[in-house]
Symmetry: C2
Subunit: 428 residues, 2 copies
Amino acid sequence: MIEKRTPIPVPTAQERIMTLARAGEVEKVPITEADDRVLAEAIYADHDIPPFDKSPLDGFAVQSADTENASAETPVYLEVTETVGAGGVAAPVTAPGQAVRVMTGTMMPEGCDAICMFELTKEVTRNNKTMIEITRPFKKGDFVSFKGEETKKGDPLVEAGSDITPGVKALLATFGYPEVPVYRKPVVGIFATGTELLEVDEAMEPGKIRNSNAYMVASQLKKAGAEPRYYGKLADDFDACYDAVAGAISEVDALITTGGVSVGDFDYLPAIYEKLGASVLFNKIAMRPGSVTTAAELDGMPLFGLSGNPSACFVGFELYTRPWIRTLLGAKNPYLIQTKALLGQDFPKANPFTRLIRSETRFDDTGRLTTRPAGFDKSSAVTSLAHTNALTILPGGTRGYKAGDEVDVLLLNEPGSVPLRLPEKNRT
Amino acid sequence: MIEKRTPIPVPTAQERIMTLARAGEVEKVPITEADDRVLAEAIYADHDIPPFDKSPLDGFAVQSADTENASAETPVYLEVTETVGAGGVAAPVTAPGQAVRVMTGTMMPEGCDAICMFELTKEVTRNNKTMIEITRPFKKGDFVSFKGEETKKGDPLVEAGSDITPGVKALLATFGYPEVPVYRKPVVGIFATGTELLEVDEAMEPGKIRNSNAYMVASQLKKAGAEPRYYGKLADDFDACYDAVAGAISEVDALITTGGVSVGDFDYLPAIYEKLGASVLFNKIAMRPGSVTTAAELDGMPLFGLSGNPSACFVGFELYTRPWIRTLLGAKNPYLIQTKALLGQDFPKANPFTRLIRSETRFDDTGRLTTRPAGFDKSSAVTSLAHTNALTILPGGTRGYKAGDEVDVLLLNEPGSVPLRLPEKNRT
């Protein structure tokens, strides 16, 4: 009576999904709206940085030859011919004994080859002329920021597939991208299944629970860089479900359903996939929670059948849907960051399947991560997700784990922050 | 001639800024727009989770007393009185020998006290009735998910000041928040100063550079949770600068200027602060880059005078502006996450001031962070910011650092991600 499903390992399920992942389409957005998008073309320097020799200081541009014999005993006096701020262009300095007062960022005046900062000189008036007194020699190039010393024209700077962080934004502005090529956000439809579901604004009723998965998955989609489109709840009626799913498919790049993938009487998704002509990629994974996580393919489009249990739904999204999205967004590494952490408590129970414990991970005083369960650990749990910033991987087939054991964690958010501490000796 | 400024330590400067930080105003947003906002009220459970005893499986709700003597040799047969999906409410079971076919999430039928999953039974037809054959005893409560086992009504779940992650969103939906109380985003004005600045869509000209700071700071503001308002460039003219700044102040919660805070002839910010009647909180910090970072206070409003050098501007924002914003957003820990990392290269040069190296930080194979400079390290550098995910703190007054030394890092973004690896033994 019950369909027999063969569980496959997590990496195998991920590989099957990734056969559907391809680089996405490119669109242009104004630079002011490019935050958190993903760069679709590499950025190359279209000019040198700095674009010209310049003063990195407020000071005087001088001719080093004039200062060769300067000392406290035999100061040299240079005539200040003009004051030029950043953005201005000084007249060429052609006569010996002349200097230009310049500000931070001012292009080096033609004829000058060193900068004397304000602090190393003083201005005096001689013969009704403004002069500076130089009491040390300067070498050619002293304190000058040279054209191209940071970056040369043509240098590759940021790869396609990079997230547009504030630092990347600074480069886009520097190299003149009023419009930025980014990957189009994949549109992902969401259906929640289950007659038991109440929407967030409906009052509680006997036998019913509120629909949290659709809201949670919409947030996960946004965080991953996709655009969620919520189609509402599917009723416990096969034809209505089929029509709704078939109608949505033409409007999205992928479809997520939550619930309806197990072996219950109203779990229609397997039959819907069949009627659509979709191929099932997997319908049982050797993991907890989320062993019923299902995926199918229809003409290259992934159909994600996530569990109706919130914790299982959450994990299924992060392990399978997210890397597909990140690949469409050009990410070089579409998976969650995986690293090592120390277990904060015992897990004495063996489990045949790999467990993905919804966890709270923090740095300890030595910079090591410790990881603890974020709360109630059942597949149906919703409250612990609020405190989850990582998934702790406990491989299946083992005899249990002890506090202090090193385990793998997948990071979802950053660990908790603390005020900036600096050693006391810096309180100068 | 040159104003003498006294450098103060980083933590002292942070403390002075934080005297201006207060919890912000509260507003309500629809749950679908609450992503990445900060919760302004704690969430308490307004009902038990689960809200009723329920079946966590597809199976049959039974009366355990009926199964007391069941075994493979002496199976017990129970009459299936109805099938009830999740969301439905079964009729009370009053007679011995009866069971209800239930799906995952179905409320326990009144009179039943245990769940027998599909896999542990089979359906048979006897006397034209649908029966199930039970071959083992079930105890009261077996496989039942109990009302309140995850959370009890009134339990505190998420603190005010928490970021609204997908997991928090799930809770907001569960506990019926169609509108979510969040902290209003502080509006922060931005002025760039400098005649040398070209906007992103202007062609390069001799002596000029593109304005990257305004775009970068706008991104930093958004990332920190604030709303940027860019007022354009201030010209090198005191009266025009003053009028522009004075006019903007009534429209914002804080004001950022980039550039104009050093000792150059056109560095008007100190004089503007004075004319506004603002008190200078600091104008020299014992740090590199960004020693000229300035802050002033006007009627409780912070005026951030960030450096015009991109790297210095970036660091000044993260150390001083960001924690002020995060405090208005109710964050319990408004500072960047600080932890330990191993230096990936030597820093032989001693420095009297604390250095904040724009760095790329990654987890090594053992879960330790390693940190390396992200590129060109001058205060004026812009390209290295694109590869910066952390600031490495090298305290001042020391003799230099060697590769492998443990240092503090402030995390800005997550380190690089890698594909999910699971031990081979899990490929069951």
